[in-house]
Amino acid sequence: MTAHPRSLAQPPVTVEVLPPAARFSLRLRAEARPVAETALALPLPDRIGRRSVGATRQAICLGPDEWWIDAPAAEADAIRSALDGLVPHALVEITDREITFQIDGPGALDLLAIGIARDLSRLEVGRGARTVFDGVQAVLVREAEHRFTLSVWRSFAPHVGELLEQGAREIALGL
């Protein structure tokens, strides 16, 4: 079994809550995508799990007609009305629905494996998915080899956060 070196200065994995930015759920049909991409100045990936990263905005495709748009809070108003009158769509702000954890360190995959049944080694860097963490729906994005974000609905965050903390302590013990 692989043991993680025990070091207080550098724990094998850390968990923190990221400050809220602006987050929207965008729904539209494939034929409306080009217009929306222009209006949002952001490509909308056409494969589930893919993400596009613009200058300040990101879009991740979570379903065949569903994207999450992440942006700085200052752009929220602009995004909210960006598609008005252009194409049939639903654009709903969900900034406050979500709490996002960042899980960082060489033990990140082991830590996520306490709650996620997917094989996360197959998740490429820069991609993500909606999945389940210990029975709680979550959106997972692999930001780097050992860095992930995990977003859950606000009221589930204490449960998920405590499990992540407990798991991080367990992984630090190296048992």
């Binding site: 979570l62 379903g63 998915a129 999945t131 389940v132």
Partner: protein, 100 residues
């Protein structure tokens, strides 16, 4: 915990992301009010419940969110295949022939 192939995500994923949704290929009548009581009863309540091959619906509820169809063997609990909602019922014999 089964592994289920989502035809929208094109990925085989663990069962906790999915929810079962009953028998497949039972369309809601276009005009329910035109149905007799007997016909409506059959639509509402009567299901095939076979031993063996079952056409059924699942939803990738904690994934892409889509409802899709599956063929599963109710004895072995093995999935034969999954396919998108709205696609016609696959011909099982043809599938078996193709496999052989």
């Amino acid at each position: 915990m089964l592994l289920i192939h989502c035809p929208y995500c094109d990925d085989t994923l663990p069962e906790p992301e999915f929810a079962y949704a009953g028998e497949a290929h039972i369309a809601r009548p276009a005009d329910p009010m035109a149905l007799s009581d007997e016909e409506w009863k059959n639509f509402l309540f009567i299901r095939s419940n076979p031993r063996g091959t079952h056409y059924e619906r699942w939803r990738h509820i904690h994934g892409c969110g889509r409802f899709f169809n599956a063929i599963r063997d109710t004895v072995s609990d093995k999935f034969v295949m999954t396919y998108r909602a709205g696609e016609p019922r696959p011909n099982l014999d043809a599938l078996k022939e193709a496999a052989e």
